[in-house]
Protein backbone atom coordinates (compact mmCIF):
# COMPACT_ATOMS: atom_id res chain seq x y z
CA UNK A 1 0.00 0.00 0.00
CA UNK A 2 1.41 3.39 -0.96
CA UNK A 3 0.87 6.50 1.04
CA UNK A 4 -1.89 7.31 -1.45
CA UNK A 5 -3.98 4.38 -0.28
CA UNK A 6 -3.56 1.92 -3.10
CA UNK A 7 -1.03 -0.70 -4.09
CA UNK A 8 1.10 -0.69 -7.21
CA UNK A 9 -0.82 -3.74 -8.48
CA UNK A 10 -4.04 -1.80 -8.00
CA UNK A 11 -2.93 1.21 -9.99
CA UNK A 12 -1.67 -1.08 -12.79
CA UNK A 13 -5.03 -2.84 -12.99
CA UNK A 14 -6.98 0.38 -12.80
CA UNK A 15 -4.97 2.17 -15.46
CA UNK A 16 -5.24 -0.84 -17.74
CA UNK A 17 -8.99 -1.07 -17.22
CA UNK A 18 -9.36 2.54 -18.34
CA UNK A 19 -7.84 1.59 -21.68
CA UNK A 20 -10.75 -0.72 -22.49
CA UNK A 21 -13.77 0.77 -24.22
CA UNK A 22 -17.27 -0.65 -23.92
CA UNK A 23 -18.06 -3.30 -26.49
CA UNK A 24 -14.45 -4.14 -27.27
CA UNK A 25 -13.46 -7.76 -27.60
CA UNK A 26 -10.62 -8.51 -25.25
CA UNK A 27 -8.29 -11.53 -25.10
CA UNK A 28 -7.38 -11.87 -21.45
CA UNK A 29 -4.69 -13.67 -19.47
CA UNK A 30 -4.54 -14.63 -15.81
CA UNK A 31 -3.46 -12.21 -13.06
CA UNK A 32 -3.45 -8.44 -13.51
CA UNK A 33 -4.92 -8.52 -17.05
CA UNK A 34 -7.85 -10.51 -15.74
CA UNK A 35 -8.31 -8.01 -12.89
CA UNK A 36 -8.14 -5.10 -15.31
CA UNK A 37 -10.56 -6.56 -17.81
CA UNK A 38 -13.11 -7.57 -15.21
CA UNK A 39 -12.83 -4.21 -13.47
CA UNK A 40 -13.64 -2.54 -16.80
CA UNK A 41 -16.61 -4.88 -17.28
CA UNK A 42 -17.90 -4.12 -13.78
CA UNK A 43 -17.51 -0.36 -14.19
CA UNK A 44 -17.41 1.70 -17.38
CA UNK A 45 -17.51 -1.09 -19.98
CA UNK A 46 -20.32 -3.49 -19.10
CA UNK A 47 -20.44 -4.92 -22.62
CA UNK A 48 -16.75 -5.62 -23.03
CA UNK A 49 -16.43 -9.18 -24.38
CA UNK A 50 -13.85 -11.25 -22.51
CA UNK A 51 -12.17 -14.19 -24.21
CA UNK A 52 -9.74 -16.53 -22.44
CA UNK A 53 -7.51 -18.79 -24.49
CA UNK A 54 -9.04 -21.90 -22.92
CA UNK A 55 -11.96 -21.30 -25.29
CA UNK A 56 -14.40 -19.34 -23.13
CA UNK A 57 -16.03 -16.47 -25.02
CA UNK A 58 -18.12 -13.67 -23.54
CA UNK A 59 -17.51 -14.84 -20.01
CA UNK A 60 -18.64 -12.85 -16.95
CA UNK A 61 -16.91 -14.45 -13.99
CA UNK A 62 -18.24 -13.53 -10.55
CA UNK A 63 -14.78 -14.16 -9.17
CA UNK A 64 -11.34 -13.93 -10.71
CA UNK A 65 -10.03 -17.15 -12.22
CA UNK A 66 -6.81 -18.57 -10.82
CA UNK A 67 -6.09 -20.50 -14.01
CA UNK A 68 -6.83 -19.75 -17.62
CA UNK A 69 -9.30 -22.64 -17.66
CA UNK A 70 -11.22 -22.35 -14.40
CA UNK A 71 -14.70 -23.84 -14.36
CA UNK A 72 -16.09 -20.42 -13.47
CA UNK A 73 -15.03 -19.12 -16.88
CA UNK A 74 -16.84 -21.92 -18.70
CA UNK A 75 -19.98 -21.67 -16.57
CA UNK A 76 -20.37 -17.92 -17.12
CA UNK A 77 -19.51 -17.87 -20.84
CA UNK A 78 -21.80 -17.16 -23.77
CA UNK A 79 -20.10 -20.08 -25.47
CA UNK A 80 -17.15 -22.39 -25.00
CA UNK A 81 -15.14 -23.63 -27.96
CA UNK A 82 -12.09 -25.80 -28.48
CA UNK A 83 -8.56 -24.45 -28.26
CA UNK A 84 -7.90 -24.85 -32.00
CA UNK A 85 -11.05 -22.86 -32.68
CA UNK A 86 -10.27 -20.03 -30.26
CA UNK A 87 -6.99 -19.42 -32.03
CA UNK A 88 -8.26 -19.83 -35.62
CA UNK A 89 -11.88 -18.63 -35.87
CA UNK A 90 -11.63 -15.99 -33.15
CA UNK A 91 -8.10 -14.65 -32.68
CA UNK A 92 -6.50 -15.24 -36.08
CA UNK A 93 -9.62 -14.09 -37.93
CA UNK A 94 -9.19 -10.63 -36.44
CA UNK A 95 -12.16 -10.69 -34.09
CA UNK A 96 -10.13 -9.56 -31.05
CA UNK A 97 -9.70 -5.81 -30.49
CA UNK A 98 -7.34 -5.85 -27.54
CA UNK A 99 -4.94 -8.46 -26.20
CA UNK A 100 -3.18 -8.32 -22.84
CA UNK A 101 0.38 -9.60 -22.54
CA UNK A 102 3.14 -9.80 -20.01
CA UNK A 103 6.66 -11.25 -20.16
CA UNK A 104 9.93 -11.68 -18.30
CA UNK A 105 11.63 -9.05 -20.47
CA UNK A 106 10.58 -6.22 -22.75
CA UNK A 107 12.91 -4.16 -24.91
CA UNK A 108 12.85 -0.60 -26.27
CA UNK A 109 10.85 -1.72 -29.32
CA UNK A 110 8.22 -3.58 -27.33
CA UNK A 111 9.49 -7.05 -28.13
CA UNK A 112 8.75 -9.57 -25.39
CA UNK A 113 10.76 -12.47 -24.02
CA UNK A 114 9.12 -15.29 -22.11
CA UNK A 115 11.34 -18.10 -23.39
CA UNK A 116 14.92 -18.04 -22.05
CA UNK A 117 17.46 -15.93 -20.22
CA UNK A 118 20.76 -16.62 -21.95
CA UNK A 119 21.02 -18.65 -25.13
CA UNK A 120 18.20 -20.83 -26.41
CA UNK A 121 20.35 -23.96 -26.58
CA UNK A 122 21.96 -23.52 -23.15
CA UNK A 123 19.74 -21.22 -21.17
CA UNK A 124 20.69 -19.73 -17.83
CA UNK A 125 17.01 -19.67 -16.99
CA UNK A 126 14.44 -21.63 -18.90
CA UNK A 127 11.20 -19.63 -18.80
CA UNK A 128 7.77 -21.16 -19.54
CA UNK A 129 7.68 -20.20 -23.22
CA UNK A 130 5.44 -18.18 -25.46
CA UNK A 131 2.11 -20.01 -25.21
CA UNK A 132 -0.56 -17.97 -26.93
CA UNK A 133 1.31 -14.68 -26.92
CA UNK A 134 2.93 -14.60 -30.39
CA UNK A 135 -0.39 -14.91 -32.20
CA UNK A 136 -2.18 -12.57 -29.77
CA UNK A 137 0.47 -9.95 -30.59
CA UNK A 138 0.16 -10.67 -34.28
CA UNK A 139 -3.63 -10.76 -34.67
CA UNK A 140 -5.20 -8.63 -31.93
CA UNK A 141 -6.09 -5.09 -33.00
CA UNK A 142 -3.71 -3.78 -30.36
CA UNK A 143 -1.79 -5.09 -27.38
CA UNK A 144 -1.67 -3.77 -23.83
CA UNK A 145 1.46 -4.90 -22.00
CA UNK A 146 1.37 -5.03 -18.19
CA UNK A 147 4.74 -5.48 -16.51
CA UNK A 148 6.43 -4.29 -13.32
CA UNK A 149 9.29 -2.01 -14.22
CA UNK A 150 12.95 -2.71 -13.43
CA UNK A 151 16.23 -2.52 -15.30
CA UNK A 152 16.24 -6.32 -15.31
CA UNK A 153 12.93 -6.57 -17.15
CA UNK A 154 13.09 -3.39 -19.27
CA UNK A 155 16.18 -4.18 -21.32
CA UNK A 156 17.98 -2.74 -24.30
CA UNK A 157 17.37 -5.90 -26.32
CA UNK A 158 15.56 -9.04 -25.21
CA UNK A 159 17.56 -12.27 -25.12
CA UNK A 160 14.94 -13.95 -27.28
CA UNK A 161 11.97 -12.51 -29.20
CA UNK A 162 9.17 -14.77 -28.05
CA UNK A 163 6.55 -12.26 -29.12
CA UNK A 164 7.22 -9.50 -31.55
CA UNK A 165 6.51 -5.85 -30.83
CA UNK A 166 8.06 -3.58 -33.44
CA UNK A 167 10.92 -5.96 -34.28
CA UNK A 168 14.57 -6.27 -33.29
CA UNK A 169 15.41 -2.89 -34.84
CA UNK A 170 12.04 -1.25 -34.52
CA UNK A 171 11.31 -1.94 -38.16
CA UNK A 172 7.58 -2.02 -37.66
CA UNK A 173 4.57 -4.25 -38.21
CA UNK A 174 4.07 -4.61 -41.93
CA UNK A 175 3.74 -8.37 -41.68
CA UNK A 176 1.12 -8.28 -38.92
CA UNK A 177 -2.60 -7.69 -38.86
CA UNK A 178 -2.63 -5.83 -35.57
CA UNK A 179 -1.03 -2.59 -34.40
CA UNK A 180 1.12 -4.28 -31.76
CA UNK A 181 1.91 -2.88 -28.30
CA UNK A 182 0.18 0.48 -28.16
CA UNK A 183 0.72 0.91 -24.43
CA UNK A 184 2.91 -0.56 -21.69
CA UNK A 185 1.53 -0.14 -18.18
CA UNK A 186 3.97 -0.55 -15.31
CA UNK A 187 3.92 0.01 -11.58
CA UNK A 188 5.68 3.35 -12.18
CA UNK A 189 4.00 4.82 -15.22
CA UNK A 190 2.86 4.37 -18.79
CA UNK A 191 4.99 3.92 -21.92
CA UNK A 192 3.85 4.24 -25.52
CA UNK A 193 5.69 3.75 -28.82
CA UNK A 194 6.90 6.91 -30.49
CA UNK A 195 4.99 6.87 -33.78
CA UNK A 196 8.11 8.01 -35.71
CA UNK A 197 10.61 5.52 -34.29
CA UNK A 198 8.50 2.77 -32.70
CA UNK A 199 10.64 3.21 -29.57
CA UNK A 200 8.85 3.08 -26.24
CA UNK A 201 8.88 6.39 -24.39
CA UNK A 202 7.47 7.49 -21.09
CA UNK A 203 4.14 9.31 -21.52
CA UNK A 204 2.88 9.30 -17.93
CA UNK A 205 4.09 8.67 -14.40
CA UNK A 206 1.83 7.46 -11.64
CA UNK A 207 1.11 9.88 -8.77
CA UNK A 208 4.08 10.27 -6.47
CA UNK A 209 6.52 8.57 -8.85
CA UNK A 210 9.62 10.53 -9.79
CA UNK A 211 10.61 10.49 -13.46
CA UNK A 212 14.22 9.80 -12.55
CA UNK A 213 13.12 6.64 -10.75
CA UNK A 214 11.50 5.44 -13.93
CA UNK A 215 14.65 6.16 -15.92
CA UNK A 216 16.69 4.25 -13.32
CA UNK A 217 14.44 1.24 -13.68
CA UNK A 218 14.79 1.14 -17.44
CA UNK A 219 17.66 -0.66 -19.15
CA UNK A 220 17.95 1.75 -22.06
CA UNK A 221 18.07 5.56 -22.25
CA UNK A 222 14.34 6.07 -21.95
CA UNK A 223 12.89 9.01 -23.88
CA UNK A 224 10.36 11.11 -22.05
CA UNK A 225 7.42 12.71 -23.84
CA UNK A 226 7.49 16.50 -23.84
CA UNK A 227 3.90 16.49 -22.57
CA UNK A 228 4.57 13.94 -19.82
CA UNK A 229 1.39 13.45 -17.83
CA UNK A 230 0.65 12.28 -14.35
CA UNK A 231 -1.76 9.38 -14.10
CA UNK A 232 -5.18 10.24 -12.72
CA UNK A 233 -5.19 8.57 -9.30
CA UNK A 234 -7.54 5.63 -8.74
CA UNK A 235 -11.00 6.83 -7.80
CA UNK A 236 -12.78 5.57 -4.76
CA UNK A 237 -15.27 3.81 -7.02
CA UNK A 238 -12.53 2.05 -8.99
CA UNK A 239 -10.84 0.90 -5.81
CA UNK A 240 -14.13 -0.26 -4.28
CA UNK A 241 -15.12 -2.37 -7.28
CA UNK A 242 -11.66 -3.88 -7.65
CA UNK A 243 -11.35 -4.70 -3.97
CA UNK A 244 -14.82 -6.23 -3.80
CA UNK A 245 -13.94 -8.40 -6.77
CA UNK A 246 -10.73 -9.53 -5.11
CA UNK A 247 -12.48 -10.16 -1.83
CA UNK A 248 -15.20 -12.26 -3.48
CA UNK A 249 -12.39 -14.17 -5.16
CA UNK A 250 -10.49 -14.77 -1.94
CA UNK A 251 -13.60 -16.00 -0.14
CA UNK A 252 -14.60 -18.32 -2.97
CA UNK A 253 -11.17 -19.87 -3.31
CA UNK A 254 -10.83 -20.33 0.44
CA UNK A 255 -14.13 -22.21 0.44
CA UNK A 256 -14.54 -25.99 0.72
Amino acid sequence: MTENGYTSDEIMSIVASRHLRDGQVCFVGIGLPSEAANLARLSHAPDVVLIYESGTIGTRPEILPLSIGDGELAEQADLVVSVPEIFSFWLQAGRVDVGFLSAAQIDRFGNLNSTVIGSYEEPTVRLPGAGGAPEIASSAGEVIVMLRQSARTFVEAVDFISTVGFGRNGEGRERHRGAGPTVVITDLGVLEPDPRTNELRLVAVHPGIDTDDVLDQTGWPLQVASDLATTEPPSGEELRILRELKQRTAIAHAGP
Binding site: I30, G31, E53, S54, G55, T56, L66, S67, I68, G69, D70, G71, L73, A74, E75, A77, L79, V80, V81, S82, V83, P84, F87, S88, L91, Q92, T115, Y120, P123, T124, V125, R126, L127, P128, G129, A130, G131, G132, A133, P134, E135, S138, S139, F160, I161, S162, T163, V164, G167, R175, H176, R177, H253
Partner: protein, 290 residues
Protein backbone atom coordinates in the same frame (compact mmCIF):
# COMPACT_ATOMS: atom_id res chain seq x y z
CA UNK B 1 -14.11 -50.55 -30.23
CA UNK B 2 -13.21 -49.36 -26.74
CA UNK B 3 -12.41 -51.97 -24.11
CA UNK B 4 -13.04 -51.31 -20.46
CA UNK B 5 -9.91 -52.24 -18.58
CA UNK B 6 -7.77 -51.26 -15.61
CA UNK B 7 -5.57 -48.21 -15.93
CA UNK B 8 -2.58 -50.46 -15.28
CA UNK B 9 -3.42 -52.74 -18.19
CA UNK B 10 -4.15 -49.82 -20.49
CA UNK B 11 -0.78 -48.18 -19.85
CA UNK B 12 1.05 -51.52 -20.04
CA UNK B 13 -0.51 -52.33 -23.39
CA UNK B 14 -0.57 -48.97 -25.10
CA UNK B 15 2.36 -46.93 -23.77
CA UNK B 16 5.50 -48.92 -24.60
CA UNK B 17 8.96 -47.57 -23.84
CA UNK B 18 10.12 -45.22 -26.57
CA UNK B 19 6.62 -44.29 -27.75
CA UNK B 20 5.32 -40.85 -28.62
CA UNK B 21 2.70 -39.95 -26.04
CA UNK B 22 0.33 -36.99 -25.86
CA UNK B 23 -1.51 -36.54 -22.56
CA UNK B 24 -3.81 -33.58 -23.10
CA UNK B 25 -6.29 -31.51 -21.09
CA UNK B 26 -6.11 -27.71 -21.13
CA UNK B 27 -6.15 -26.80 -17.42
CA UNK B 28 -9.32 -28.92 -17.18
CA UNK B 29 -9.49 -32.75 -17.34
CA UNK B 30 -5.75 -33.39 -17.12
CA UNK B 31 -5.13 -37.18 -17.03
CA UNK B 32 -2.94 -37.11 -13.91
CA UNK B 33 -3.76 -40.62 -12.67
CA UNK B 34 -2.66 -41.99 -16.05
CA UNK B 35 0.56 -39.98 -15.76
CA UNK B 36 1.17 -41.57 -12.36
CA UNK B 37 0.72 -45.01 -13.88
CA UNK B 38 3.35 -44.16 -16.50
CA UNK B 39 5.75 -43.33 -13.64
CA UNK B 40 4.74 -46.39 -11.64
CA UNK B 41 5.53 -48.66 -14.58
CA UNK B 42 8.91 -46.96 -15.02
CA UNK B 43 8.44 -46.13 -18.70
CA UNK B 44 11.60 -44.98 -20.48
CA UNK B 45 12.56 -42.91 -23.50
CA UNK B 46 9.13 -41.43 -24.08
CA UNK B 47 8.58 -38.49 -26.38
CA UNK B 48 6.02 -36.41 -24.55
CA UNK B 49 3.67 -34.03 -26.33
CA UNK B 50 1.48 -31.55 -24.51
CA UNK B 51 0.64 -27.88 -25.01
CA UNK B 52 1.00 -27.08 -21.31
CA UNK B 53 3.27 -29.63 -19.57
CA UNK B 54 1.82 -28.69 -16.15
CA UNK B 55 2.35 -30.74 -13.03
CA UNK B 56 1.67 -34.01 -14.87
CA UNK B 57 4.74 -33.76 -17.11
CA UNK B 58 6.85 -32.12 -14.41
CA UNK B 59 6.41 -35.39 -12.52
CA UNK B 60 7.09 -37.68 -15.49
CA UNK B 61 10.10 -35.65 -16.63
CA UNK B 62 11.39 -35.43 -13.07
CA UNK B 63 11.40 -39.24 -12.93
CA UNK B 64 13.48 -39.47 -16.10
CA UNK B 65 10.86 -41.22 -18.23
CA UNK B 66 11.21 -38.85 -21.20
CA UNK B 67 13.86 -38.09 -23.80
CA UNK B 68 11.98 -35.34 -25.57
CA UNK B 69 9.22 -32.81 -24.92
CA UNK B 70 7.09 -31.11 -27.58
CA UNK B 71 5.18 -28.22 -26.00
CA UNK B 72 4.10 -24.57 -26.13
CA UNK B 73 3.93 -23.30 -22.52
CA UNK B 74 5.79 -24.95 -19.68
CA UNK B 75 4.86 -23.18 -16.47
CA UNK B 76 2.94 -23.92 -13.29
CA UNK B 77 -0.28 -22.01 -14.08
CA UNK B 78 -0.75 -19.03 -11.80
CA UNK B 79 2.25 -20.07 -9.69
CA UNK B 80 5.53 -19.94 -11.62
CA UNK B 81 8.05 -22.45 -12.88
CA UNK B 82 7.90 -26.17 -13.38
CA UNK B 83 11.09 -26.94 -11.48
CA UNK B 84 11.60 -30.52 -12.67
CA UNK B 85 11.20 -29.43 -16.28
CA UNK B 86 13.66 -26.58 -15.72
CA UNK B 87 16.13 -28.88 -14.01
CA UNK B 88 16.01 -31.23 -16.98
CA UNK B 89 16.44 -28.45 -19.56
CA UNK B 90 18.95 -26.32 -17.63
CA UNK B 91 21.00 -29.08 -15.97
CA UNK B 92 20.13 -32.31 -17.75
CA UNK B 93 18.86 -33.75 -14.47
CA UNK B 94 17.93 -36.56 -14.06
CA UNK B 95 18.69 -36.88 -17.77
CA UNK B 96 18.93 -34.50 -20.69
CA UNK B 97 15.65 -33.53 -22.32
CA UNK B 98 15.38 -32.51 -25.95
CA UNK B 99 12.73 -29.92 -26.55
CA UNK B 100 10.70 -28.97 -29.58
CA UNK B 101 8.86 -25.76 -28.87
CA UNK B 102 5.86 -24.19 -30.58
CA UNK B 103 3.20 -21.60 -29.92
CA UNK B 104 -0.25 -22.59 -28.65
CA UNK B 105 -1.75 -21.76 -32.04
CA UNK B 106 0.92 -23.83 -33.75
CA UNK B 107 0.37 -26.86 -31.52
CA UNK B 108 -3.40 -26.64 -31.99
CA UNK B 109 -2.95 -26.44 -35.76
CA UNK B 110 -0.63 -29.46 -35.68
CA UNK B 111 -3.18 -31.57 -33.81
CA UNK B 112 -5.96 -30.49 -36.17
CA UNK B 113 -3.85 -31.48 -39.18
CA UNK B 114 -3.14 -34.82 -37.53
CA UNK B 115 -6.82 -35.44 -36.82
CA UNK B 116 -7.73 -34.48 -40.39
CA UNK B 117 -5.21 -36.82 -42.00
CA UNK B 118 -3.27 -33.95 -43.57
CA UNK B 119 0.55 -33.81 -43.62
CA UNK B 120 0.59 -30.23 -42.36
CA UNK B 121 -1.56 -27.31 -41.29
CA UNK B 122 -1.35 -23.57 -41.91
CA UNK B 123 -1.73 -20.51 -39.72
CA UNK B 124 -0.83 -16.86 -39.43
CA UNK B 125 1.78 -17.36 -36.74
CA UNK B 126 5.41 -17.37 -35.53
CA UNK B 127 6.12 -14.34 -37.76
CA UNK B 128 8.88 -12.10 -36.42
CA UNK B 129 9.71 -14.36 -33.49
CA UNK B 130 13.03 -16.01 -32.76
CA UNK B 131 11.14 -19.24 -32.20
CA UNK B 132 10.69 -19.66 -35.94
CA UNK B 133 14.49 -20.04 -36.20
CA UNK B 134 14.59 -22.70 -33.49
CA UNK B 135 11.72 -24.99 -34.40
CA UNK B 136 10.26 -26.84 -37.33
CA UNK B 137 8.07 -24.39 -39.27
CA UNK B 138 8.04 -23.27 -42.88
CA UNK B 139 6.66 -20.38 -44.88
CA UNK B 140 4.43 -21.09 -47.85
CA UNK B 141 2.66 -18.79 -50.25
CA UNK B 142 -0.99 -18.84 -51.16
CA UNK B 143 -1.25 -20.13 -54.73
CA UNK B 144 -4.17 -17.71 -55.18
CA UNK B 145 -3.00 -14.33 -53.93
CA UNK B 146 0.64 -14.89 -52.95
CA UNK B 147 -0.01 -14.11 -49.29
CA UNK B 148 2.45 -15.85 -46.96
CA UNK B 149 1.32 -18.22 -44.25
CA UNK B 150 3.21 -20.44 -41.81
CA UNK B 151 3.07 -24.22 -42.16
CA UNK B 152 3.48 -26.64 -39.28
CA UNK B 153 3.73 -30.41 -39.57
CA UNK B 154 0.92 -32.68 -38.38
CA UNK B 155 1.12 -34.35 -34.98
CA UNK B 156 0.08 -38.01 -34.93
CA UNK B 157 1.15 -39.40 -31.56
CA UNK B 158 1.46 -43.13 -31.04
CA UNK B 159 -0.97 -42.81 -28.18
CA UNK B 160 -3.24 -40.09 -26.81
CA UNK B 161 -4.21 -40.17 -23.15
CA UNK B 162 -7.13 -38.05 -21.97
CA UNK B 163 -9.45 -37.81 -19.00
CA UNK B 164 -13.19 -37.30 -19.54
CA UNK B 165 -16.25 -37.00 -17.36
CA UNK B 166 -18.18 -40.03 -18.64
CA UNK B 167 -18.21 -43.19 -20.70
CA UNK B 168 -21.40 -45.07 -21.47
CA UNK B 169 -21.67 -48.88 -21.40
CA UNK B 170 -20.94 -49.09 -25.12
CA UNK B 171 -17.70 -47.18 -24.62
CA UNK B 172 -18.72 -43.83 -26.04
CA UNK B 173 -16.91 -41.07 -24.17
CA UNK B 174 -18.57 -37.79 -23.18
CA UNK B 175 -16.92 -34.59 -22.03
CA UNK B 176 -17.95 -30.98 -21.63
CA UNK B 177 -16.74 -27.58 -20.50
CA UNK B 178 -13.25 -26.62 -21.60
CA UNK B 179 -12.33 -29.42 -24.00
CA UNK B 180 -9.03 -27.95 -25.16
CA UNK B 181 -7.48 -30.13 -27.82
CA UNK B 182 -8.69 -33.47 -26.47
CA UNK B 183 -10.97 -34.41 -29.34
CA UNK B 184 -8.26 -33.45 -31.81
CA UNK B 185 -5.49 -35.39 -30.09
CA UNK B 186 -7.71 -38.45 -29.73
CA UNK B 187 -8.55 -38.35 -33.44
CA UNK B 188 -4.90 -37.70 -34.38
CA UNK B 189 -3.36 -40.54 -32.37
CA UNK B 190 -2.89 -44.14 -33.43
CA UNK B 191 -4.18 -45.40 -30.07
CA UNK B 192 -6.34 -43.73 -27.43
CA UNK B 193 -6.54 -44.31 -23.69
CA UNK B 194 -9.29 -42.57 -21.71
CA UNK B 195 -9.79 -42.35 -17.99
CA UNK B 196 -13.27 -41.27 -16.88
CA UNK B 197 -14.88 -40.01 -13.74
CA UNK B 198 -17.87 -42.29 -14.15
CA UNK B 199 -19.29 -45.06 -16.33
CA UNK B 200 -22.96 -44.33 -16.97
CA UNK B 201 -25.87 -45.98 -18.75
CA UNK B 202 -26.41 -43.01 -21.08
CA UNK B 203 -24.13 -40.03 -21.56
CA UNK B 204 -25.49 -36.91 -19.89
CA UNK B 205 -23.44 -33.93 -21.11
CA UNK B 206 -24.60 -31.46 -18.47
CA UNK B 207 -22.55 -28.41 -19.37
CA UNK B 208 -21.51 -26.20 -22.26
CA UNK B 209 -19.48 -27.41 -25.24
CA UNK B 210 -20.50 -31.06 -24.92
CA UNK B 211 -18.56 -33.48 -27.09
CA UNK B 212 -18.68 -37.21 -27.77
CA UNK B 213 -15.90 -39.52 -28.91
CA UNK B 214 -17.53 -42.67 -30.27
CA UNK B 215 -16.41 -46.01 -28.88
CA UNK B 216 -14.79 -47.12 -32.12
CA UNK B 217 -12.29 -44.24 -32.00
CA UNK B 218 -11.01 -45.35 -28.58
CA UNK B 219 -8.91 -48.33 -27.49
CA UNK B 220 -9.07 -48.49 -23.71
CA UNK B 221 -11.25 -46.89 -21.04
CA UNK B 222 -10.53 -47.05 -17.31
CA UNK B 223 -12.85 -45.66 -14.66
CA UNK B 224 -10.67 -43.47 -12.40
CA UNK B 225 -12.75 -41.09 -10.29
CA UNK B 226 -10.89 -37.88 -9.46
CA UNK B 227 -8.21 -38.99 -11.93
CA UNK B 228 -7.65 -35.40 -13.02
CA UNK B 229 -6.53 -34.06 -9.61
CA UNK B 230 -5.10 -31.40 -9.06
CA UNK B 231 -6.88 -30.13 -12.20
CA UNK B 232 -10.63 -30.66 -12.24
CA UNK B 233 -13.49 -32.41 -13.97
CA UNK B 234 -16.38 -29.99 -14.49
CA UNK B 235 -19.52 -31.39 -12.88
CA UNK B 236 -17.47 -33.76 -10.67
CA UNK B 237 -14.53 -32.07 -8.97
CA UNK B 238 -13.02 -28.62 -8.36
CA UNK B 239 -9.54 -27.44 -9.20
CA UNK B 240 -7.16 -27.81 -6.24
CA UNK B 241 -5.42 -24.46 -6.48
CA UNK B 242 -3.60 -25.04 -3.20
CA UNK B 243 -1.96 -28.14 -4.58
CA UNK B 244 -0.51 -26.18 -7.49
CA UNK B 245 0.98 -23.72 -5.01
CA UNK B 246 2.38 -26.53 -2.86
CA UNK B 247 3.77 -28.22 -5.96
CA UNK B 248 6.16 -25.32 -6.30
CA UNK B 249 7.74 -26.29 -2.96
CA UNK B 250 7.62 -30.05 -3.55
CA UNK B 251 9.21 -29.84 -6.97
CA UNK B 252 11.82 -27.20 -6.12
CA UNK B 253 14.00 -29.76 -4.33
CA UNK B 254 15.21 -32.89 -6.08
CA UNK B 255 15.10 -34.76 -2.78
CA UNK B 256 11.63 -33.75 -1.65
CA UNK B 257 10.33 -34.45 -5.13
CA UNK B 258 11.82 -37.96 -5.11
CA UNK B 259 10.42 -38.66 -1.66
CA UNK B 260 6.98 -37.37 -2.64
CA UNK B 261 6.89 -39.51 -5.78
CA UNK B 262 8.02 -42.60 -3.87
CA UNK B 263 5.39 -42.07 -1.22
CA UNK B 264 2.36 -41.16 -3.32
CA UNK B 265 3.04 -42.35 -6.87
CA UNK B 266 5.67 -45.00 -7.52
CA UNK B 267 5.49 -46.78 -4.18
CA UNK B 268 1.75 -47.45 -4.03
CA UNK B 269 0.04 -50.04 -6.22
CA UNK B 270 -2.41 -47.59 -7.71
CA UNK B 271 -3.98 -44.11 -7.50
CA UNK B 272 -5.92 -44.89 -4.30
CA UNK B 273 -3.05 -44.04 -1.95
CA UNK B 274 -2.79 -40.59 -3.51
CA UNK B 275 -6.52 -40.03 -3.12
CA UNK B 276 -6.46 -41.24 0.49
CA UNK B 277 -3.66 -38.79 1.28
CA UNK B 278 -5.61 -36.07 -0.45
CA UNK B 279 -8.66 -36.86 1.67
CA UNK B 280 -6.82 -36.94 4.98
CA UNK B 281 -4.89 -33.77 4.17
CA UNK B 282 -1.42 -35.37 4.10
CA UNK B 283 -0.75 -35.20 0.36
CA UNK B 284 1.46 -32.15 0.67
CA UNK B 285 2.62 -32.73 4.26
CA UNK B 286 6.24 -33.04 3.09
CA UNK B 287 6.26 -29.29 2.56
CA UNK B 288 3.43 -28.13 4.81
CA UNK B 289 5.87 -27.12 7.54
CA UNK B 290 7.60 -24.52 5.40
Amino acid sequence: MAEFTSLRAAIEDLVPDGSVVAMEGFTHLIPVAAGHEVIRQGKRDLTLIRMTPDVIYDQIIGMGCAVKLIFSWGGNPGVGSLHRLRDAVENGYPRPLMIEEHTHAGMATRYVAGAAGLPFGILDGYVGTDLSDHTNVATIRSPFDGEEVTAVSALNPDVAVIHAQQADRRGNVGLWGITGVQREVALAAKNVVVTVEEVVEELDLRGPNGAVLPSWTIDAIAEVPRGSHPSYSMGYTRRDNAFYTRWDAISRSREIFAKWIAEYVSGPDDFSTYLAALDDGTLTSLVDDD
